[in-house]
């Protein structure tokens, strides 16, 4: 799990996103507040999409990281078995 999305693909995604935002900036004919808001929302959406890919790319870091909860649960069960063994002394061979 040490290799993620290749750098070339990241490069393509970022170039495409930047070009799309650039197109929106340059080709927005009417100057108005709503147009500026639209460009802002569009840019935020693209950034969110790219950030989600980045977060999912490495499952053991960042906001959506997988937790060791299952391993903790298994460790608790093992500890319980060890404690049971110590409480009942040596188990007789079956």
């Amino acid at each position: 799990m040490t290799q993620g999305v290749p750098g070339l693909v990241w490069g393509l995604l970022i170039i495409f996103a930047a070009t799309l935002i650039g197109c929106m900036l340059v080709f927005a004919a009417e100057a108005s507040t709503s147009k500026a808001v639209l460009v802002g929302v569009f840019t935020s959406s693209l950034t969110l999409a790219l950030l989600t890919v980045r977060v999912l790319d490495f499952p053991f870091e960042s906001a959506l990281q997988l937790s060791p909860r299952d391993f903790n649960g298994t460790l608790e069960k093992v500890d319980r078995l060890i404690a049971d063994g110590q409480m009942h002394g040596s188990k007789a061979p079956e």
Binding site: A36, V39, T47, F60, T74
Partner: protein, 157 residues
């Protein structure tokens, strides 16, 4: 994310103050068509990449479930063995799980592999393989070894 949106909105407002409106109008028609085509290509590329990273995330999550299930199976089977063998296996299992939680998880967050966890797993495997048991318990040993083999195969790191 909000910052990029605000910066883009600011640049948009600034551009319309600096550049004359007719200049924008001249490129509007062709720009619109280019924008749509680029948008489709970007969407397809993003969909492929998203599908790939989501699948990998899902595989990692399932591998953890499966590994924990197998290790729990080893613990239950070892509980059926007589005391010295049982204790040796459970203690090794405890050591392996502790290393995974305390050390390997932190290493994986830094995108590194943990040699300590590998060493502990080898030690657990060796204990299960060599621990003294009755001939009647050899079937249990075989089952534990197959579960440990599954753990090794599920290991995503």
């Amino acid at each position: 994310m909000l910052g990029t949106g605000l910066v883009a909105a600011f640049i948009c407002a600034l551009l319309h103050r600096i550049v004359h409106r007719d200049t924008f109008r001249r490129y509007h028609e062709v720009g619109y068509a280019v924008f749509l085509q680029l948008g489709v290509i970007f969407a397809v590329l993003l969909a492929f990449v998203f599908n790939n990273v989501w699948s990998n995330y899902d595989v990692a999550s399932q591998a953890i479930d499966s590994e924990c299930g197998s290790l729990h199976g080893v613990a239950i089977l070892s509980d059926r063995l007589p005391s010295p063998a049982r204790d040796a296996i459970l203690n090794d299992l405890h050591a392996y799980l502790t290393i995974v939680i305390d050390q390997e998880w932190a290493d994986m967050q830094r995108r590194n592999e943990s040699r300590a966890a590998d060493a502990k797993f080898q030690s657990l495997w060796h204990t299960v393989e060599t621990v003294n048991t009755d001939l009647a318990d050899n079937q249990i040993r075989g089952q534990m070894l197959s579960l440990l083999k599954a753990v090794k195969q599920d290991c995503i790191r």
